[in-house]
């Protein structure tokens, strides 16, 4: 075993990159679930975002516009889910699953002709001054902007949910939609907005894969990341900061186990491979998870 081959600075740096797509998708889903809607279509929205972001970025040559396109693509797909579940009152679980299948197929169709094409480069930002700090600088302050964008979105969601009136309404709708409705709040409108936000975030997470982390378009490239994001929302107890912990832990252990393998660590590879899942579940469960929103997954009908 040659652990000196692992460069801890590079390891911690790639940890943040590995965690970002899951973090983005999960924070969107967290808002959706806090509004009382269970959208199992995260995987489908992610992959749709991955392909629409890639197409827009290639067409314009600008990854920033690509990310905007990804958010729009993810949100558009999520609104299909929104209309079906909020206005046509379809079953949320079945509709969400269908959304994933639909997204996988739609993205494969849209992505025809984009295989093997290179995405425009997305340069890292070097945060002025801070990036030059020894050790910590390269780890924390020399990434592509979306790594920080993800963390800013989490901070924004936390502030919104806990320190704004609109956030309070959103939580009220998620806890008890009948009471919220009786108080005169627009349950459907609130939920549609939350669903669109969740779709946009999932789209950003997908585009992070196709534009930064891989970076290319390949069919089915999310390969289950959306499901991990869904699980992390639950294990994080619907709390934004725990969600960051969960995503970073998962991303971190994933990268660490690959590093240990390459360095020839004397731990059986099977254990290393399962370690990201085990570590994430263990830590988040031990921290005692929160209570799920009271109206989560229930259909709302104003007449009743």
């Amino acid at each position: 075993m040659d652990l000196s081959a692992i460069n801890p600075i590079l390891l911690l740096a790639s940890l943040m990159v590995a965690a970002t797509p899951i973090l983005l998708a999960a924070i969107g889903e967290l808002v959706v679930e806090r509004a009382g809607v269970l959208n199992l279509g995260v995987e489908g929205m992610m992959i749709t975002g991955a392909v629409s972001g890639f197409i827009v970025a290639v067409a314009t040559g600008n990854p920033w516009i690509g990310f905007l396109g990804a958010a729009a693509g993810g949100a558009a797909l999520s609104l299909v889910f929104g209309v079906l579940t909020q206005y046509l009152l379809s079953n949320q679980v079945a509709t969400g699953l269908a959304l994933t299948l639909f997204g996988l197929g739609l993205s494969a169709l849209m992505g025809q002709g984009y295989l093997g094409i290179r995405a425009p480069a997305f340069p890292d930002v070097h945060v002025p001054l801070l990036a030059d700090i020894p050790v910590i600088g390269p780890i924390v302050f020399q990434h592509d902007p979306m790594v920080y964008g993800g963390l800013l979105i989490v901070a924004g969601v936390y502030g919104f949910l806990h320190h704004s009136r609109a956030g309070l309404i959103l939580r009220a709708v998620g806890e008890n939609h009948d009471a919220a409705h009786a108080l005169g709040y627009h349950v459907r409108r609130t939920r549609m907005l939350a669903i669109a936000f969740g779709g946009a975030c999932a789209g950003l997470g997908g585009a992070y894969l196709s534009l930064v982390r891989v970076p290319q378009w390949t069919e089915g490239m999310t390969a289950g990341a959306g499901w991990i994001a869904l699980a992390i929302v639950v294990f994080a107890g619907w709390k934004p900061w725990r969600l960051v912990l969960g995503a970073y832990l998962f991303g971190g252990v994933t990268v660490l186990q690959l590093n240990l393998q390459a360095a020839g660590a004397a731990v059986p590879v099977e254990y290393l491979s399962m370690s990201p899942y085990l570590a994430t579940i263990l830590v988040l469960v031990i921290m005692a998870s929160g209570r799920s929103p009271g109206s989560l997954g229930r259909t709302f009908h104003a007449a009743r």
Binding site: L11, G116, G220, A223
Partner: protein
């Protein structure tokens, strides 16, 4: 009594329809099913199987109808897909990944009239044939080039699952690299997936961070190629498909799977009614394994010697596993001049001497 009546009427009906039968047989196309482990757009393994499916359609036109299911998980779920395909009237089903082996055998026992072809496995049945390609022959060419072009003397290898097919490739590449560069070292990462672009890219990045300047992959997507391109100055090889969009750098050559001739031959056998179970293992000489063009990023003299290895394998004068070769623990595997037999290769579960680390069991 009833049975005899039935038989008699059956004969009568058959006689009546005899004139119409050939026309009927033509109207009913032979249905060929394909089960894929990844999406058809993976740019690698499944992409090539799908190209071969299209070649079958091209060859037979209206006489054949093909169906496929992509991204089928290896394991129990494959049973459902296979059963469904057989119930829908498939006459011949290709299951194109190692992990479908037991499921193929299981479903085949329930549908004795349906022919099955399983890729890269070792089990057969009266209606199940096995076919495989000698990828390790191509790995010897890659290892030769890798041993020459590496400057850090560290070659990264992204493994999928620790099965004989993958281990053959690692050993073959290592022996070829070691032959031209005694200081070469292999770093092996097991991704435990055939297809997960993010994980494959990550594995490539980890290997590059740990000093590898050549990456060999035994996973299906082009993600490691993109990662190597982003890192710059890292060499890669196309896997399963040419991946020419990454030439001339990082992709300097490739192993190309060419399943089309085999699929056409076996489909024709089903149409003609001559299909029989078999187990074939074809290599570069048969055309099932192709070596993609070696680009100018490789020094000209290395290109010449690499092509000499390829030609030697085709001519049968060179075998990637020619003794003396010791196993990892130092025990003798092949004596001087001895070549490996197919049985040992098909069950290969050991590294050769010089490779560090353990194979996950």
């Amino acid at each position: 009594m009833i049975r005899r009546t039935l038989l008699a009427s059956g004969v009568a009906a058959a006689a009546l329809m005899a004139a119409g039968l050939p026309a009927l047989a033509q109207d009913e196309p032979t249905k060929v099913g394909f089960v894929y482990v990844g999406p058809v757009g993976d740019g690698g393994w499944t992409f090539e199987h799908n190209q071969a499916r299209l070649a079958v359609e091209e060859e037979f036109g209206d006489a054949v109808e093909t169906v496929f299911v992509e991204s089928v998980p290896e394991g129990p779920d494959a049973v459902r897909v296979l059963t469904d395909m057989a119930l829908q009237g498939a006459d011949l089903i290709f299951t194109t990944s190692f992990g479908y082996m037991d499921q193929t055998i299981e479903v085949a026992s329930k549908f004795p009239d349906v022919k099955f072809e399983h890729a890269t496995g070792f089990k057969t049945a009266p209606n199940v044939a096995a076919y495989n390609a000698r990828f390790y022959e191509g790995r010897a060419v890659q290892g030769h080039i890798a041993g020459h072009v590496t400057e850090s003397n560290i070659i990264g290898y992204i493994g999928s699952f620790p099965i004989p097919e993958v281990i053959q490739g690692i050993n073959s590449a290592y022996l070829a690299a070691k032959a031209v560069n005694p200081d070469v070292e292999f770093k092996i990462v097991w991704a435990y997936t055939w297809f997960d672009p993010a994980k494959e890219a990550e594995s490539a990045n980890v290997l590059i961070e740990q000093g590898a300047d050549v990456i060999l992959q035994h996973t299906d997507s082009t993600a490691p190629q993109a990662a190597a391109q982003a890192a710059g100055n890292v060499y890669t090889f196309g896997q399963a498909s040419d991946m020419a969009e990454y030439a001339p750098m990082p992709r300097v050559s490739s192993i190309i799977d060419n399943w089309a001739p085999y699929y056409i031959e076996r489909t024709r056998a089903v149409i003609d009614g001559t299909w029989e179970t078999q187990s074939v293992w074809q290599g570069i000489a048969d055309g099932m394994v192709g070596i993609g063009e070696i680009t100018d990023a490789v020094p000209a003299e290395v290109k010449v010697t690499a092509e000499a290895i390829r030609d030697g394998i085709v001519a049968g004068t060179m075998h990637p596993f020619t003794g003396p070769i010791n196993k990892q623990d130092g025990s003798v595997w092949l004596a001087e001049g001895e070549t490996a037999d197919d049985e040992t290769l098909l069950g290969m579960n050991f590294y050769v001497e010089g490779i560090e680390g353990d194979i996950p069991q």
